[in-house]
């Protein structure tokens, strides 16, 4: 029996309340502790000797009282009445008697990034991330919240930072565990991050969990080229899929391929009915992959349930050259794009797809002051990505990040400038210890 704390003879150092009949000392120390605020004897926890002497002999002491602490099986008895003797080492601090599962429940609520610090508290805590009880709680508490992952692979060493929105802090997480060939950030979902690159002549895709520093190369596709990719995790199922559409370099149309982690293989499906030029803008929501085509500007949708492509005849806003597709929560799909590129009335607007009417409806426009601040030169490139109903803009040359909350209609800057200029790739990321690469 291990317990967080100094003494492993915890059982013998407790004072057992007299009226308790069933007490369990097992893997979880469900102690019935009699502790009270100091009564003038100076220490934070009064010594049991002191307590025993001064306690009320209530009538219930003589009765057999069933107390049934939670989860307790009535058969398990322990010899109670292990009265402490004055010379036994006594915990000075009542915290040491905290049952392990309660400790895990507390620690599961500490933001994932900060858990790493706590690993150096003691050997026991260092093994926390391998402890199934801790992981179980971690899986069931609400997610930490959205973070922005910024990846930049300049020469050999990847520079990676993660901005935690809830904590408003940048963490320079270490990504050196990745193989050197992983240079393109594909995206992130459910705590996993997907990268791709070429090792020699061969194109590879990998998935990783940055928190556990684990990674795995996926099997090659049937048509193994650098293709437009998207990864989606299904947490309820503990699985993930990677969807590959068109060739990036040549805009050739390949059969759509889908990798399913449950089967660890790619399946080949319908080729996207090709338009002339395809953009690289894709978004996934509600089991549908949306793909923006250029020339003409249009919308294609791939339905995973029936494995086929459909054209969505939604008319795109006039004077929009191209836009980003961003998935929101549930079925929401947003289009983000710049209007009036060469005019003085240039701005960035956001539309939402009305699925019923098959229409793009304008829902917001970036206020001019943010626009001017984000894009110093009016024709400058920007990147755009989303998570739930948050949309993030990063400016290509300036290393700035701007957030828009679609529901609250609030614009805000991401503090600090960990977005390296140009070469920078970014996406939303949700840190999870329990996201498995398998």
């Amino acid at each position: 029996m291990n317990c967080v704390g100094q003494s492993s003879e915890l059982g013998s150092s407790l004072s057992i309340v007299e009226s308790v009949e069933n007490v369990v000392f097992g893997g979880d120390v469900r102690c019935c502790i009699q502790a009270s605020p100091p009564r003038g004897n100076g220490s934070r926890n009064t010594s049991p000797m002191g307590r025993v002497g001064s306690r009320n002999t209530s009538p219930s002491r003589q009765k057999v009282v069933k107390t049934k602490p939670r989860g307790l099986d009535e058969e398990t008895h322990a010899t109670f009445g292990k009265v402490v003797h004055a010379d036994v080492q006594m915990e000075d601090n009542i915290w040491a008697m905290l049952p392990e599962d309660l400790l895990h429940e507390i620690l599961a609520r500490v933001p994932p990034f900060l858990i790493f610090r706590l690993r150096s508290v003691c050997k026991r805590w260092n093994l926390l991330l391998q402890d199934s009880s801790f992981l179980k709680f971690h899986s069931s508490v609400p997610s930490h919240g959205p973070c922005v992952l910024s990846f930049c692979k300049n020469s050999v060493i990847p520079q990676c930072s993660v901005y935690s929105l809830p904590l408003k802090t940048w963490y320079r997480m270490c990504f050196t565990f990745l193989p050197h060939w992983a240079i393109w950030l594909i995206g992130s979902s459910g705590g996993l991050v997907c990268f791709s690159g070429c090792e020699g002549p061969t194109f590879y895709i990998l998935v990783c969990n940055p928190l556990t520093q684990t990674w795995r190369k996926l099997p090659c596709m049937h048509f193994n080229q650098q293709r437009q990719l998207i990864m989606v995790v299904d947490r309820s199922d503990q699985s993930f899929k990677v969807i590959a559409t068109n060739d990036i370099c040549s805009d050739k149309s390949f059969p759509t391929e889908i990798y399913d982690s449950k089967e660890d293989r790619w399946s080949v499906h319908q080729r996207m009915p090709a338009s002339n030029l395809c953009s690289s803008k894709m978004a996934y929501c509600d089991s549908r992959l949306y793909f923006e085509t250029l020339s003409p500007l249009g919308l294609m949708m791939y339905r995973l349930d029936i494995n086929c492509w459909e054209h969505i005849p939604a008319k795109f806003p006039r004077s929009l050259l191209d836009g980003y597709l961003v998935a929101g929560t549930q079925k929401r799909l947003f289009l983000v794009g710049r209007i009036g590129l060469y005019s003085t009335l240039q701005s960035i607007k956001i539309w939402e797809l009305d699925h019923a009417k098959i229409l793009w409806v304008e829902i917001s426009r970036m206020p001019p002051k943010y626009f001017r601040s984000l894009l110093r030169l009016s024709a400058e490139r920007f990147e755009c990505f989303g998570l739930d109903n948050l949309i993030c803009f990063t400016s290509y040359n300036q290393g700035k990040g701007l957030l828009f909350d679609v529901d609250k209609k609030i614009w805000s800057w991401i503090g600090g400038s960990a977005f390296q200029s140009y070469n920078n790739q970014a996406c939303f990321y949700e840190p999870r210890f329990d996201a498995s690469i398998y």
């Binding site: 309340v17 107390t67 601090n93 009542i94 507390i106 610090r117 150096s120 260092n126």
Partner: protein
């Protein structure tokens, strides 16, 4: 609503007896929020006084008040009044009495109070001895040095 709990209940009252002998008369439906008490009642229907041997009167009072008043607003302010020792004892009480809402609220609160602290501070709070060798500790700190930036001052 939380307040309605007491009005709409049956008039049956129950007595809870804390470890230091303090007695609390509560409505049945309040007491039933403590699953441990509920189980007790299920077993011995006629009981009128239930001993709560692990919880002091001071903390039982706080727990009962929590049950009566709990809502989002109350929970947000609730934990601010207590120091770490009280939080721990309240957590043990909530755990023993099996009140999941209170337990969650307290776990969240304690996590918040330690999350940005240094390992030294956390060791003091939990009274844990550092059994890492200096080399091991240095290695861990180096491995995760990015996580050690921005720590609260103790």
């Amino acid at each position: 609503m939380a307040e309605e709990k007491s009005q709409a209940s049956s008039s049956k009252m129950l007595t809870l007896k804390a470890s230091d002998g303090v007695l609390f008369e509560v409505e049945l439906n309040i007491a039933k929020e403590m699953k441990t008490v509920q189980a007790y009642i299920d077993d011995c229907e006629d009981i009128e006084t239930i001993p709560i041997p692990n919880v002091l009167g001071k903390h039982l009072a706080i727990v009962i008040e929590y049950i009566k008043k709990t809502n989002e607003e109350y929970d947000a302010e609730f934990e601010k009044q207590w120091n770490m020792d009280d939080l721990q004892l309240l957590l043990l009480a909530a755990n023993y009495l099996n009140i999941s809402g209170l337990q969650e609220c307290l776990c969240k609160a304690i996590a918040k109070r330690i999350e940005n602290k240094s390992p030294e501070y956390v060791r003091k709070v939990f009274n844990i001895e550092n059994d890492h060798s200096p080399e091991e500790e240095a290695k861990l700190r180096k491995e995760y040095k990015w996580a050690f930036e921005g720590v609260d001052k103790d």
